[in-house]
Structures are given as C-alpha cells and as structure tokens.
Symmetry: C2
Subunit: 318 residues, 2 copies
Amino acid sequence: MITKISNPIFDTITIIGAGLIGSSIARASEASGVAKTIRIYDTNEAVRACAAQIGLGDVSDTIEAACTGADLVVLCTPVGVLGAAAQAAAPFLKEGAILTDVGSVKESALNDMVAVSPAHVHVIAGHPIAGTEHSGPDAGFAKLFSGRWCILTPLEDQSDSYQVSVQKLSRFWEAFGSTVEIMSAKRHDLVLAITSHLPHLIAYNICATAEDMEQVTEGEVVKFSAGGFRDFTRIAASDPTMWRDVFLNNKEAVLETLGRFTEDLAALQRAIRWSDGDQLFDLFTRARSIRKSVIDAGQDTAAPNFGRRSDEDDTPAE
Amino acid sequence: MITKISNPIFDTITIIGAGLIGSSIARASEASGVAKTIRIYDTNEAVRACAAQIGLGDVSDTIEAACTGADLVVLCTPVGVLGAAAQAAAPFLKEGAILTDVGSVKESALNDMVAVSPAHVHVIAGHPIAGTEHSGPDAGFAKLFSGRWCILTPLEDQSDSYQVSVQKLSRFWEAFGSTVEIMSAKRHDLVLAITSHLPHLIAYNICATAEDMEQVTEGEVVKFSAGGFRDFTRIAASDPTMWRDVFLNNKEAVLETLGRFTEDLAALQRAIRWSDGDQLFDLFTRARSIRKSVIDAGQDTAAPNFGRRSDEDDTPAE
Ligand SMILES: NC(=O)c1ccc[n+]([C@@H]2O[C@H](COP(=O)([O-])OP(=O)(O)OC[C@H]3O[C@@H](n4cnc5c(N)ncnc54)[C@H](OP(=O)(O)O)[C@@H]3O)[C@@H](O)[C@H]2O)c1
Ligand SMILES: NC(=O)c1ccc[n+]([C@@H]2O[C@H](COP(=O)([O-])OP(=O)(O)OC[C@H]3O[C@@H](n4cnc5c(N)ncnc54)[C@H](OP(=O)(O)O)[C@@H]3O)[C@@H](O)[C@H]2O)c1
C-alpha cells in the first residue's frame, strides 16, 4: 500500500531513464509525496515526449536541467549504460546529493557510478525486486513496488552523512510500500543469479529450442503451449537490451550457477535414460518442497495457474 | 463455456481414478449432461470416500461394479498404471464400449490399453491439454477443459463402428468446451515433449539447483524468488508420481528435445563467457517473438505477471 506521507523526504528528485521502472518511480513518488519536485529525463526524445504526454512529473530536455540542484538522482537505464548516464550527470550533481540506480546487477553498477562521481556525492546502489515483462514509459504504475523487496548495496563508507543518506534512501523506498534489505553488491549478484538471472536465461533458451522445433512440428508448439511452455514464454518476453546487459555484467555468478544447473540436468537426463524412477520421484518431491517455501514466505499465490482462469465465469474450486 | 446439452451422448460413463482430472470430468459431465449415469472408481479408499463426500457421481466400491454395462470408461490414473487399470477393467467391458484415457503420454498409453482389452472394445487414447499444479479429488472443477484443446490419438482402425465411437468421444469433450484435435500418438508425444514435458523437467531441475544454492545463500533464494524463480516453482509443484511416469514413458522424445535444449544452452553459455552481446541480443529477440505468437494464438493473457496483482487494490496500467 502507498500512503501519502506528511513531510517530503527530498526537495527535488530526478529520474534518468523513463521506462517501466523509471515511470513507476515517478508515479509512486507522486502518489506517496516523497518529493516536492519530480524531474524526469531520458536520452530518447520519443520517450520524453511520451512521458510529458502522460504527465510523468517535470520532463527536462537536458541532463543539466534535470540534475542541477537535485537531492536524489535515480538512474533507471539498462545496466550497460549506467556508467555513461552517471558520467553525463556527474558535473551537475550538488554537494551531498545521492546518486542511486535500479539496475539488476549491483557490483558493476556500484563501480561504474563511483568511477565517474565527484567525491562530494553519496553513491548508493539499489535494486527493487519488482517488475513485469513490459517496458517503456506507459508500462509503469505506482503500486509496482508495493509489498516487494528493495535491495540497497551501499559502499563501506561509514561517515555519518553517508549513513544519513542510506537512511533517507531507505525511507524513500519504504514510502512506496517496499521492504528494504541491505547487503553487499557481491552477495546481491550471487542471490539474483539464481533467483532471477538463471531463470531468465533458461526461459530464453527453451524458447529458442522451441522455435527450432516449431518447424519440425508445423506450428503445433504454439498451439499446445498451455501444457507448461507458455509460462516460460512470459519470462522470455522481457526486454532484450536489459537482459543482454545483465548477463554481460554478472558473468561470473551466472556462469557459476549455470554450471551447477547443467550438472544437475545431466544427472536427470541419466535417470531418464536408465529409467531410474526412484531418482526422478525423489528429485521431483524435493523440488516441490521449495514451492511450499515460496508460498509460505508470501512470495506467490497458491491459486492454480497464478489465478489465471480457464473461462470468464469460472472460479477454480480450490 | 459449458452449456447443458439436450440429449445425453452416453447412458453410463465410468471414471477410473478420481484425482484432479477424473473429478473435473465428473463435474463437467454433470454440468453438461453428457451422460445419464456417472460412475466413479478409485483404488484408493480414502479418495473414494472423499469423492462420495463431495458428491462426485455414483462412487463404486469395485471395478466390476464401476465398469459393468458402461458405454464409456475413462482411465484417469497416472500413466504408469494405465495398463494395470485397463487390465482390471477389461473383463467387465461390454461389446462396443469405448475405453479411453487422459494420460500425458499417448503411444505407451495406447499400447498398454490395447494389449489387455478384448477385441470388442473400442480403444481411443486421449489427452486434455488442461490442468493445474494441484491434485486429488477436491482440486477438480467443471470448467477445467473449457476453451482448451483435447487431443485424441485413435488407432488406425477404420471400421465404421470405430469411427462412430471416435465421433462420440469427440462430442463428449466438445460438450466440456474443448476443441478436439486428432493426431497420431507418436506426433502427440513429440509435440508435448517440447510444449510440456521439457518445461516441467527444466522447472524441476532449476528448483533442485536452487535448493542447493539455498544453503549457500542462507534462505535468500526463497526470499527474493519474485525475480523470476517463483514462476518455475509453480510448474515444479506438480505431482511427482504423474511426472515420473511421463518421463519414463516418453523417454525417446524427451531425450531428443533435451539434447537440443542442452546444445542451445552451451552456445548461450559460450556467448556469456566471451561477452558476445550481439548474439545474446539476437537470441533474446527471437525468443520474444514466440511469446507474441502464444498471445496471438489466444494461449495466454498479455496482462503482466499473468494478471497477478502486486497489491489488492492495484490495477497495473497496461
Ligand atoms: N523490467 C524489470 O522487470 C526490472 C526490474 C527491476 C530492475 N530493472 C532494472 O531497471 C532498469 C531499467 O529497466 P526498465 O525495464 O525500466 O527498462 P526500459 O523500460 O527499457 O527503460 C529504460 C529507459 O532508459 C532509457 N535510456 C537508455 N540509455 C539512457 C541514457 N544513457 N540516459 C538516459 N536514459 C537512457 C531508454 O531509452 P531507449 O528506449 O531509447 O533505450 C528507456 O527509455 C534496468 O537496469 C533493469 O536492469 C528492471
Ligand atoms: N495434472 C495435470 O495437469 C494433467 C493434465 C492433463 C493430463 N493429466 C493426466 O491425467 C492423469 C491423472 O492426473 P491427475 O492430475 O488427475 O492425478 P491425481 O490427481 O494424482 O489422480 C490420480 C488418481 O488415480 C488413482 N489411481 C492410481 N492408480 C489407480 C488404479 N490402478 N486404478 C484406479 N485409480 C488409481 C490415484 O490414487 P492414489 O492417490 O492412491 O495414487 C489418484 O486418486 C495422468 O495420467 C496425467 O498424466 C494430468
């Protein structure tokens, strides 16, 4: 839930990159009252025009106008251009301004931002664990972050003023209904490699395999996709630029988890080849227990098919 | 949509195995009026008691009582015991009775049923492409098959009376709101290997990998599962017995598609290792196009996160 707060946390905030996440932050900031002024900027003129048209804060035409005097600058671009975006913003960042991001990889993001920022700026990397498979300014909505985690990966800087900035940034995300978790960038990248990056990689891969099989089966893969495959296609509908950058910037952790996945898959393949029913049964039973943990942790709904209904007037008997 | 038909297609139908699919057929039969009498039987006494308690047709206490005089017998057990279930039913099947099933693998099902059936019975294998991750008699609901495909894989028997039986069985599924597609058992098993069996295998495998990583990351895999992983856990929540039997009985097609998947994954791994951004981008873009085909074919909703809402009062701006 977003509840309007009584005192703004920041005077002026600036969002760089007005896509799904950037536009959602703009809407959530508006709804929660975290800032007096909300500025938004994007290098893409068409995106700026769209942002202005749908009323996402004050749209700036230059990065200078966007960043000058801002108390908080949130970079919402793909991970691969975070360094370039930070460098463009750097000359205009005032003393004590907070520079943060929302990228899905954190060690490279933190390094890229620190490398180009003046010493008087507080760099704190961040990642809201919230999103959809859609992108662009009109895909955003205010409640995207509500009931979700937001991970912050600050520097080891223990100065009082830096700590105050970390607290302010935490309150900012909490105002959107998020729960903030603080961890090291390295740990973030390992955890997300298994919970997000590997699943996306696998989903993309199975879609590529299916696309080749589509020729063998003359259109029947899509036709009968409701058997399980369609759920993978949703994950694989995510933005190719965003995901290319994730894999290029979290190479080490992704290759490590992918290695484990491939080993496990080889064992499963062997069990099928040798008709080892017990091994299959045991592994499937173990896998099922993790589903229970996910539901118990409140991270998903137990309704069948994510509550997808098989018919307009159908209510699955649960 | 299920609409009540005016003339029952069968006098008496018998459902063997009162789990998710069996109980859904019982409810759909009741709702559509496809039969005058609906009998149900399960080897598990507790399941029979539950079926009787929730009012799923006439619950029989023996397979003899269930099958004697029935016009249609639908086997709704796991694939691995279809032969045993057909053998138990065989002595009681009357001349011209239809024996069918709903198993997720068709070549083995057809062979297993034919091997034990008297010549005067019409064996027609079937598979409704509908289901949820839940099992048991209370997981079923009448609309499960509505708007879904049902694949029938008949024998090559071209006798007039056999063809009439195929038509009657088609009308039976159509009365539940399904669209019937007829193909060979071999083709079914190849198409389903990619659209259903491989996705389930991969989902089980990623859950197993994640479970091991859960120790490395001290509980954080479940905590941050909303980043993509949780969608795999749902698929991996399906019944271990059912899926063990699927993999043991569709070994050849599953190993073939798994081989393709593994090759593709090796190429993807290499692209990450060598930072080949263009290759990643191209593959992700290709994968995305298949999502579009799935939506265009009406096989899924375009709402973000399958319409899962991030908050009770949230309506994603689409
Ligand atoms: N989508 C998710 O589910 C999700 C979840 C959590 C975090 N994230 C992270 O959030 C970030 C943004 O993702 P998104 O889904 O919001 O992407 P998006 O919808 O594609 O938006 C990104 C926007 O940034 C603009 N941009 C690109 N380079 C820029 C630059 N140098 N300066 C200013 N603007 C620039 C893009 O313009 P063009 O269109 O012209 O490139 C686009 O409008 C990524 O780092 C991603 O890892 C995404
Ligand atoms: N679930 C899906 O999404 C889905 C979709 C399409 C097709 N199918 C196919 O439908 C079939 C049933 O799946 P389901 O999900 O309905 O499974 P389920 O909920 O586990 O039900 C199977 C029922 O059959 C009973 N049974 C086992 N052996 C039997 C026998 N020899 N004679 C009579 N009853 C017996 C089981 O009793 P116990 O509990 O004691 O074993 C159980 O009650 C499987 O072949 C599956 O491949 C499933």
